[in-house]
């Protein structure tokens, strides 16, 4: 193959690689921006569901109930008092 063809092919290869690299960086950056936007938009739902409503599984602290007691009318099925 003539030398000028080889140089042209190498040049085309380098140009192609540069385009792919630039495209990858842009896609990565766009992903970071989109992830940030999604976190900003919906992060409060995650925070709300990971608060005191979820029992802690570690045994190094008193376990919080999954939900606090709810109000109810009338008598109870059982009584909780001292014995």
């Amino acid at each position: 193959m003539p030398q000028h063809h080889i140089r042209a092919a190498a040049h085309d290869r380098d140009v192609g690689m540069a385009k792919i690299t630039a495209l990858s960086w842009r896609a990565g950056a766009a992903g970071v921006v989109i992830a940030g936007l999604l976190t900003f938009a919906f992060g409060h739902h995650v925070a709300a569901s990971s608060g005191p409503a979820v029992p802690r599984n570690d045994q190094g602290s008193i376990l919080i109930p999954a939900q606090p007691p709810a109000p109810a009318a009338g008598s109870g099925q059982v009584t909780s008092g001292a014995s």
Binding site: P69, A70, P71, Q77, T79, S80
Partner: protein, 319 residues
Amino acid sequence: MTTSEITRDTFAVFGTTAVLLVTTPRAITPARAVADRVLAEVDLACSRFRPDSELARLNAAGGESVAISAVFADLLAAALRAAKLTGGDVDPTCAHALASLGYDRDFADVRKAGAQSPRLTGPVGPVGPVPGWGRVRLDRAGRRVRLEHGAQLDLGATAKAWAADKCANQIADRVGCGILVSLGGDVAVGGEAPPDGWRVRVTDDHAAPSWAAGQTVTISSGGLATSSTTVRTWTVGGRPVHHIIDPSTGEPARSCWRTVSVAAGTCTDANTASTAAIVRGAAALDWLHDIGLPARLVRHDGTVETTAGWPRDDPDDAA
């Protein structure tokens, strides 16, 4: 499941009343069988009033290392965990303090003895701080324990609640139903709860009727426990005393609360917190709020405080 399908069994245990509620009628017999087995194991392990219990043998061992069962190791670990999580306000080394107040036998006999017992009518001086849970050397893996410096154990503050948790968990796993276990007012639930939850009336005395002064709430998981200075009471030398010992003095706690109810992830933790709240007095409000535990605290005059999402009392249903 409907409310009408909920089936009940009530029986005596540990000198108090046990209640089982199941969501499937056919589950009540196997649930009772599981509960009987668990409760018998717990009684043999840690009754303070059975000479053949592991606890009695350990207290009589004079500081020697004693081999223990897996059940006793678990019960003691739960008691030590309660002590650690409350900074020692719930301490298992209060047996001597209780005995010095005459509470060295089944409580029904303590009340019967009353003024007839010279031990209960004479002047009783302060016993001082309890030895402290740091005097208990538990080798849980090796299943051995040793009590240092004359420490004597009473697991009454946690054992009943631990047994309620154990019953509820095992019944849910083995019988496959929704279950509520109440042991003298220490309530643990397991499995799938009824659609509207389990209705629990919180009041001073677990033996009070289900419409007694207090508040009705529902729970669907975990546990709920109530501690009070108004129920397990007797007199010593004309002085009224109760069974919740302040470890820092060795005396019955002088609390601004007459009754505290707590909901937690387990009945053991609920009972740990309700007992600690009685001992801590006014400081308990901030403590419960800071750790996010829903609680209802009743002062001696009947006024009520709540924390961390515990519902407010219905004005038409006063404490």
